[in-house]
Symmetry: C2
Subunit: 414 residues, 2 copies
């Protein structure tokens, strides 16, 4: 028998799981206090639904489940590889949510403020910080077309991070339509905008020269490239400037309102930045997009945006939607790197008994001690000194014995 | 796009998920207070490990995951159906735990008191109360060969059920070795004992006559059948009687100690019964087995037993183990049928705002109200009366408005 978990998947030790449960608890408590309600959907989704979703590269990373019984036999006989599987493991929580909302809409309030925290799966080449099975924590507001939905999602997600113990983070925000409007006004063709955005999003890494070079390689119009480069060379560019180039005053006004509201609500506890090149990968975003970055750590710890067209694919009727997803594994990884200590809870006490003790009375004594401690009942080892040392290493602060009333603190022994 | 979840799997509405989270919270709180620690393993396991496990019928119910890339291509070329898949969805939490313990033993305490609560998958023909994806809540004690492990597992599982709000339940307990010893002494052959036990376990349903008939159909020795029937016709049979037939005084003594301890620990809050025909399905149980039944509901709400040989298959060294699994879906189903009300928590308040209100101030007001309520921020509808009615139906007890300080109770309107 093989004893290791599968490639890209992980066994969590008790201390790791405790941190994960703590982080998830902070997130859930914060979201629930704001009236968001948790739902749950199956890990498996219909294969056709997955194939038709706009998941970008993720569609190549789906774990597919083999058909069973007669259906498998006829699929094998057909020789058609695509016919072998009828379901797949979900690669995110947004597609299942859209399906769920379409299926259950008559039982759900409007707007629907929803929490999902659960496992997703991607058959990626395993590498540091990239798992094949991982947890996402999402909140979404469905049915609110106003930018109040964006404001509330950002506010509550930032409060969840503060609650966990994060502080030095920045919310970066943009509206894809502003960026596209500006690029369009510079002379890039509509059908080239996605490609230009992908290059533009790398500006932090490759600089203005790199952007120019890549756009030239992509054979974009020279005049458009020149206009963009001139604009970029003016240095830091403001929302006002981009909005004026974009020639859509309402879009700029809308984003400005979101940024100002969040700035006020933050009370200075975190930063907010207009991030004109921010795009976020998913194809389904339609307007404002945002992410949270953390000083000293590359990449985002949370990301989201508005996706007004996705639920319509299931429902045949558009439903405005905004979502914000916390990168749960990223958060836990950063906390572990920082040797984060979970805030104090009830102390751990080991109640030791010998084989001659009455075990029923041992458990009765444990029940009493549980009013003040988390009590683990353990057989007393022959080498008590060594056992006490081990218990101390395992985080026990106190030891008690079945046959007397002494409570012995650990860690204060000579 | 298809909007319904896959066959045998379920979308959980907010109220259903709330009940599930409440039940899981009660279970986790109870287990953690007793020093059990939660771990987590991947949903996917190696296909060979699954195939070699002693899962009985469950081995025919595994969802298998198709290989990817080059490995899939060569598997397809080979024409070998069994080569198509390299992993599968786990059908229980005991096999993953055994693998986990073997992989991580040097980082785990002895005895290891462990919690798992997570999803498992079985490709069963869907029917009422039987899902293809469902949650199990397991606790296990690894590394304690004494019956104290059984006593503690039963005590803490029963306390978890009491904490949830269950009371009218019975812990049924047996030792497979006692039953087998008794049957052996009556003249059944060792290799026939599994089959005889399966028949005997049905006695509650088919009666003594039914047992006799089925054993005759199975062509068991007439003398052995007659000895068993005579014994059964003596009516209620006691642990003393069975133990004396079994001719192993220590086994009877051991089971008597467990039953007496649990009886004392229960304080009369639930029943304990010696259940001489109890076997439990899994092939891997080696000694004492137990289950919990609930008055008015057929089948068990929890089941478990000792499995001393399973971890050895991974580790090459025997590790004594006992587990108890709460049927989470069963518990939630019974509570839903009883219209169980989750104990009171912070009241739900809806804070209504109009489009002309300053949304930043609305969220600031919500943050203040959150000290006393779970606050959901919602746009005020044009038809306020209808909206208030809907809110009341959704469980909101209070409504507040962005532009004044009134707190309006719902449900007391004229």
């Amino acid at each position: 028998m093989k004893i290791n978990p599968l490639k890209g998947m992980k066994d969590y030790l008790p201390a790791e799981q405790k941190l994960r449960d703590y982080v998830q608890g902070c997130i859930l408590d914060t979201y629930r206090a704001s009236g968001f309600e948790r739902i749950s959907t199956p890990i498996l989704e219909d294969m056709e639904n997955l194939d038709k979703s706009e998941g970008g590269d993720n569609l190549n990373l789906i774990f597919k489940v083999l058909k069973r019984g007669d259906k498998l036999a006829s699929a094998l006989a057909s020789g058609d590889e695509k016919a072998l599987c009828d379901m797949g493991l979900r690669y995110d929580l947004t597609l299942p949510l859209s399906r769920y909302y379409a299926a259950n809409r008559d039982k759900l309030p409007t707007p629907f403020k929803v929490i999902q925290t659960d496992r997703v799966f991607r058959a990626e080449r395993p590498q540091k910080g990239r798992m094949r099975e991982f947890v996402q924590c999402d909140i979404d507001i469905l049915g609110d077309a106003s930018c109040n939905a964006e404001i509330e999602l950002i506010d509550v997600t930032a409060r969840a991070l503060l609650r966990i113990g994060f502080s030095d983070f920045t919310v970066r925000i943009n509206d894809r339509r502003l960026l596209r409007g500006m690029l369009s006004s510079m002379g890039f063709a509509d059908e080239a905008l996605d490609s230009v955005c992908i290059t533009f999003d790398k500006m932090d890494k490759i600089g203005v020269d790199g952007v120019q070079k890549e756009l030239e390689e992509k054979e974009m119009p020279a005049g458009a490239i020149q206009a963009l480069v001139e604009f970029l060379n003016q240095g830091e560019f403001s929302l006002d400037k981009v909005a004026s180039l974009c020639q859509d005053a309402a879009l700029g006004e809308n984003l400005r309102k979101v940024i100002q509201s969040i700035t006020t609500l933050s009370g200075g506890a975190y930063q907010i930045a207009y991030s004109p090149s921010l795009v976020r990968g998913q194809g389904y975003y339609t307007g404002i997009v945002f992410e949270i970055t953390c000083a000293g750590f590359s990449g985002a710890v949370a990301g989201g945006g508005r996706y007004d067209n996705m639920i319509g694919k299931f429902l045949g009727q558009q439903v405005p939607a905004v979502g914000f997803s916390i990168g749960f594994e990223r958060i836990c990884g950063i906390l572990a790197e920082q040797n984060f200590a979970i805030p104090a809870e009830k102390g751990k006490l080991a109640l030791l008994y010998r084989s001659e003790d009455n075990f029923t009375q041992v458990l009765e004594k444990a029940a009493q001690l549980r009013q003040s401690y988390t009590v683990t009942v353990l057989p007393q080892a022959k080498k008590l000194g060594k056992q006490l040392g081990n218990l101390e290493q395992q985080g026990f602060g106190t030891v008690a014995f079945a046959d007397n009333d002494e409570l012995k603190p650990l860690g204060e022994r000579q």
